[in-house]
């Protein structure tokens, strides 16, 4: 697999495996967190949709360990970003409904948002830089 970074194929393979495991762990964490969050508890059926999408991403990432990688990056990471941003907005609506914004409620939302932004950067970087 050619790339513009000059990374040897075996090392690129290792990077793919590590990032697949990391994203799978994060997807599972997001699914559990959104499912059980008090702030997002009002959002039926939204929290089930977000949790199910996260589980799907986690399974996709496990397949990405062994499958053709760029194809599995193509839908898992954009979905990861979508799900993360959606969870962030849901948590902030939830904070408003729970009585107002507090540092802890806003911080929880930002903890959901930052990995979503990292997923977007990973997605674009892999598409634009790593593959020709």
């Amino acid at each position: 697999m050619s790339n513009t970074l000059g990374i040897p194929p075996r090392r690129l393979d290792a990077i793919y495996r590590v990032t697949s495991v990391l994203w799978a762990v994060y997807a599972a964490a997001l699914a559990m967190s959104v499912y059980g969050s008090v702030l997002i508890a009002y959002a039926d059926p939204g929290r089930y949709v977000v949790s199910a999408a996260s589980v799907l991403i986690g399974l996709g990432m496990l397949v990405r360990l062994i499958a053709p990688r760029s194809r599995w990056t193509g839908w898992t990471l954009p979905l990861m970003g979508t799900v993360g941003v959606t969870a962030f907005v849901l948590s902030q609506f939830g904070a408003d409904m729970a009585g107002g914004f507090t540092p802890a409620r806003t911080g929880y939302g930002l903890l959901l948002l930052v990995p979503a932004l990292i997923a977007y950067v990973h997605w674009i970087a892999e598409r634009v830089v790593a593959h020709r």
């Binding site: 939204g46 949709v49 979508t82 941003v85 959606t86 849901l90 634009v128």
Partner: protein, 42 residues
């Protein structure tokens, strides 16, 4: 009572951000694949 509108807004924002990032990807790819400008060659 379950409120559906905030949930739809949240989903729409998530999809909109992803589509915007997809647009950025297309711009970057077009920039990458552009042939080098003659003026840059020495």
């Amino acid at each position: 009572m379950t409120q559906l509108l905030p949930q739809l807004i949240a989903l729409a924002i998530g999809l909109a951000v992803t589509l915007a990032v997809k647009g950025v990807e297309r711009l970057l790819k077009r920039h990458r694949d552009q042939p080098p400008d003659d003026g840059d060659q020495r």
